[in-house]
Amino acid sequence: MPSLDDLKKRIKSVKSTQKITKAMKMVAAAKLRKAQDSAERGRPYSEKMQNIILNLTKSVSDPENAPKLLIGTGKDKIHLCIVMTADRGLCGGFNSNICRLAKNYFKKILNDGKELKIVAVGSKGLDQLKREYGNYIIKKISFKDRKKITFKEADVVGKVILELFSEEKFDKCILFYNNFKNVITQIPQAQQIIPVEIAKKSESDIEKNFYEFEPDEDEILEDLLPKNISTQVYKAFLENAASEQGSRMTAMDNATRNAGDLVDKLTINYNRSRQASITKELIEIISGAESL
């Protein structure tokens, strides 16, 4: 049985932990609102861009000679995986979920005898991946010192991808990130960005639009596709940021609640042992008086 003093100390320490988790939850909630806002505001851009690309690809006259970014290199040998995680921990299963999805994918393609290359964005994912897949990591990117992720940062990642592609270092590029559905649900996702995956619609669904292209389709695609890569990366950044805060908020909410439960339990224990010692003292006094 721990002494009264020990119990008192433990209650105090749990209480101060609770204060920290509570504060973190509030901060996460405030940041979440902002992140969610910017994720929602960023959606039109990427959606519209996808639309334009969809329209363009339909009109490409000569699919054989279309830009490589669109149709790929025609091989399926080397996979480049961009694993996007947070730079901070204490956000529940956020980072582990992405890493788990990525690891499953790595296993699959390695079993298929394909080559794997990893670009780790964010330091937490790197920590989790480097133990098992350290040899495959070809680049590490972290924006730990930036306060806010803007399109510029996404562009940096986009440029890295494009450079590797132009050097023909990979055939397929897949982006791993958490899609923000709502505060408690975030879905880890693998999105293929090179070659562009086009949502297949039946012919009848698509309105036939006839566009005039100036200059021609190929040149527009050549201008647009690299931008699309950065846009997709940026979208992933935004979704990730919102997911991270949402995930942290739920995790910290749970932690606060658990700490509360623990304090209750400890307080009962404390009261019991205090009562026990009082009773013990009384018994001693009474039996002392009786013996007289």
Binding site: G42, K48, Y211, E212, E214, T231
Partner: protein, 130 residues
Amino acid sequence: MSENFNLEIITPEKPIFKSETNQVTIPSFEGLMSILKDHISLVTFLRPGFIEAQSQKGDEKFFVEEGTVELNNNNLLILSSSVKNVKKMSKKEIDAMIQEAERAFNNKDIKDKEKYILSYKIDTLKEITV
């Protein structure tokens, strides 16, 4: 009959402009292009320049470095990561941008296409008076 059509300018961060206009001039990659109502459906991309939108409420002018334009059914959509409202640009900001562009321009390794874009960027920036 109204002569208006919709203009929407969207950056990756947020949509920044949405309004009815009756004429928009855009710096298309192959030259300036003015768009009126019932223009044919069009997809093109931009070089550095000004987007000028005219409407009853007054004119708006934006500086743009690059972008993609889609016009369909009287909806003009401009996607760009570098749109700035000219009114909101400061002298200091412009000077810094000119300096950076000139430095890049004087770099001998750049390709002709980049040079073409940069020269437009410098010229456009110099045109802005604050």
